[in-house]
Amino acid sequence: MVMNFLLRNKKVRSKFLQCFPNGKKGSDMLFPPLMFIILNIVFFGILLLFVVKASTGALVYEQVYAKQVALLIDEAKSEMQILVDFEEGVEVAEKNKKKNNLISLDKEENKVIVNLGSKGGYAYKYFSDYEVNVYDDVDNNLIIINVGDKVWPGVSRPGDFDKEVSEEEFDKSIGGSNCEVYSELISKYAKEYDVNPILVLAVMMQESGCNRLEDNGADVGLMQINLESHCGSKGLSSDKQGECREQLKDSRTNIRVGAEILNSYSKTFSVGVKESSTYKNNEKFRKIVDNCIEKYPHYGNYILSEAILRAYNGWGCGPGINTNYVEEVNKKYASLREEVSNVA
């Protein structure tokens, strides 16, 4: 019907026939509109890709997470631990091939800094004057925020092992003891691995009484590094009874490895053993922990530094294991802190 009408109308017919010039092949006639359509699709495709990329880019997420964390810190009260879902942030960081230090604090300026792989990241200030520690737990897709008082009243509760200890305070705590000789090394490696130096000192006192020759066959040196668990990693030889043991007799190496272990456990176990990735992914470990929590329920309550200390001594509870290790280190830590205030 339509074609009949078109061809009967002279004007319309001549216009229509202009589109099919004599002697042109069908493919020639189809080429321009086809190209036009393809180019348009390509153009709008590129635009769409740009919009999607821009909306899922690192910068947007960096800003969102920095502000979210800063607001949570402002709202938090002392002795609080806040877990923030970080799944999308981790995904964005992975796309940008960034695996660690996704979130940090500038404590001088009270800034939360999030870097998911953009050029430098995004920073946002918080006004709260509590002692705050923030770190990412990439394995569990979480941001962990710990809030505590700057001057803590005691050490019986988790979160008391404040990472910010001044050099002066540390010197006061170690002064006069037989551990004083290791003061510089503890200070150096505590700083390097972002661990509280007084905590390292307390662990050292508990483990070896600051005797560098302490060796029970399985654990060696000042920090009593376990040969079975750590030889072959952290710059140590895999020859457990030979080279590794010798390496660990050196005070410098021993303290460095001890601080590194504390730092690595802080990333894994601060959330508490049952929330840790090791517990979730390792069946053998899970069975041991479940068994111990059944016998010693306080194992299940440890979070933050108490969980780190428990991990340092091992999560087991068999014969020969000190199930009150955390509490004993706590006491040592408390007396060291007391030393600081007495000298002051």
Partner: protein
């Protein structure tokens, strides 16, 4: 131009088509870039949190804390606020008035910018409530007025590589 079908080609691939496509492309890229690089504004939420923080720490069991009216009262220490950050990016004004509306004590800290020249504008929050306080061993009634504001703008960090 390279196409054999001149008539169709000229109609479809004209200079106007290029012009329109350039305008559309540039507009979209500009708009999207502007939208996603814009600041997500949380100043109002911040001001509210600051307000809650201050009004929470000034009271104990429903009464105004005793040392608030003393000269050496340090609101930063009492409310756990970082002085440096408050002075650079925030503002608050706490006024305690007696029953007849006379100001007994006023604490003002930070900088009030143009974004907050009237109450309840963007980034500003105000609150008023009746209070009971103790003055010279006498329990009195009064009013507390708090105005808080956030002027904070976040910052993108650029590292030189």
């Amino acid at each position: 131009m390279l196409l054999k079908n001149k008539i169709g080609g000229e109609k479809l691939f004209s200079i106007w088509w290029l012009f329109i496509i350039t305008i559309v492309g540039t507009g979209m890229v500009w708009g999207v870039s502007m939208f996603y690089s814009a600041e997500i504004d949380v100043r109002n939420v911040e001001a509210e949190i600051l307000m809650d923080r201050i009004s929470d720490c000034l009271f104990e069991q429903g009464m105004l804390i005793n040392n608030l009216l003393e000269n050496d009262f340090d609101i930063f220490q009492e409310c756990k606020l970082n002085k440096k950050v408050i002075e650079s990016d925030f503002y608050f004004n706490v006024s305690i008035l007696d029953e007849s509306g006379n100001v007994i004590k006023e604490i003002e800290e930070g900088v009030l910018t143009n974004t907050c020249n009237s109450k309840d504008t963007e980034g500003c929050v105000s609150k008023e409530r009746g209070i009971i306080y103790e003055l010279k061993n006498e329990i009195k009634k009064g009013r507390l007025e708090i105005l808080t504001a956030s002027n904070q703008v976040g910052e993108e960090i650029f590292l030189l590589k």
